[in-house]
Amino acid sequence: MIDPLAVGDDCLVLSQQLSGWITRAPTLEEEVALANLALDLLGQARMLLSRVGDEDELAYLRDPPQFRNCLLVEQPNGDFAATVLRHLLYTSFLYELYAANPDDEVAAKGVKEIAYHRDYAGLWTVRLGRGTEESHRRSAGALGALWPYTAELFVTEPGLLAPWRAHVGRVLAEAGLDPGEMPPADGTPGRDGRHTPHLTEILAEMQSLHREHPGVRW
């Protein structure tokens, strides 16, 4: 079963985060790529949130404690390595979740898109991990910072841990990166609405226009 609020919020927040690279990406090609990934996730977020209620109200009128996204996706974009590692870790989970729910319409459609996300993030992970000393250092730093947040994903989906770990492990090994043991999960803080301050910042930007001009249209 896919929890539409939890996964919808994951997709919405990660989409908003990726959009933050627009006008700031390392190259024009990369900017288009990241914007496309953001659009894929926004589409999935809209379909999932619409199952719960009005998508605009859910996106624009909830406060941070009412969001059910995992803490991993709200971690800052940081540098390009942090964005790539976060994308690898999360979309590898989302891929397994969608693949395990082929009867779900969003999952059946989304699994092809997310397979591409996982592949894309994996290719960059390997290039950054095996690139220069600097890119390796940054990648290892990003992995170390993000790795503890992955445990939350598998509290509610324990069956997905083994296939996720196998895939992520292969990519990281090829990249020459070693995450070490996964620390034990400390419950599901994000899913319970106990967020880091990063989410407040993300939502402040995402919701400002709608809150200032309720119901505004293009």
Partner: protein, 89 residues
């Protein structure tokens, strides 16, 4: 970063045609950028990427010897009936 030329095959049965160019660190990333830049709306079934420096192009100076004596209509295969069911001949 390397400049890559992108060729897209729009449909089965058609040849790859030049779609544009892009920058990428290597061939695999070039393929993925090409997918995002040129086939996002299902324009293609196959993509080639070629390092731009690998392409040998005719130069404008060679225009005459290369192309000038081409006004010989009998070289055009216009005297055949195109068989039905061969839309891309």
């Amino acid at each position: 970063m390397t400049l890559w030329e992108v060729f897209v095959r729009p449909r089965r049965g058609l040849a790859h045609t030049h779609a544009g160019s892009l920058h990428a660190p290597d061939a695999e990333m070039a393929l993925r950028h090409a997918r995002d830049l040129f086939t996002r709306r299902q324009e293609g079934v196959s993509i080639w990427v070629v390092p731009a420096e690998q392409i040998t192009a005719s130069s404008p100076d060679e225009k005459d010897p290369f192309f000038a004596p081409a006004d010989k209509p009998y070289r055009h295969p216009t005297f055949y009936e195109v068989p039905e069911g061969v839309p891309h001949l």
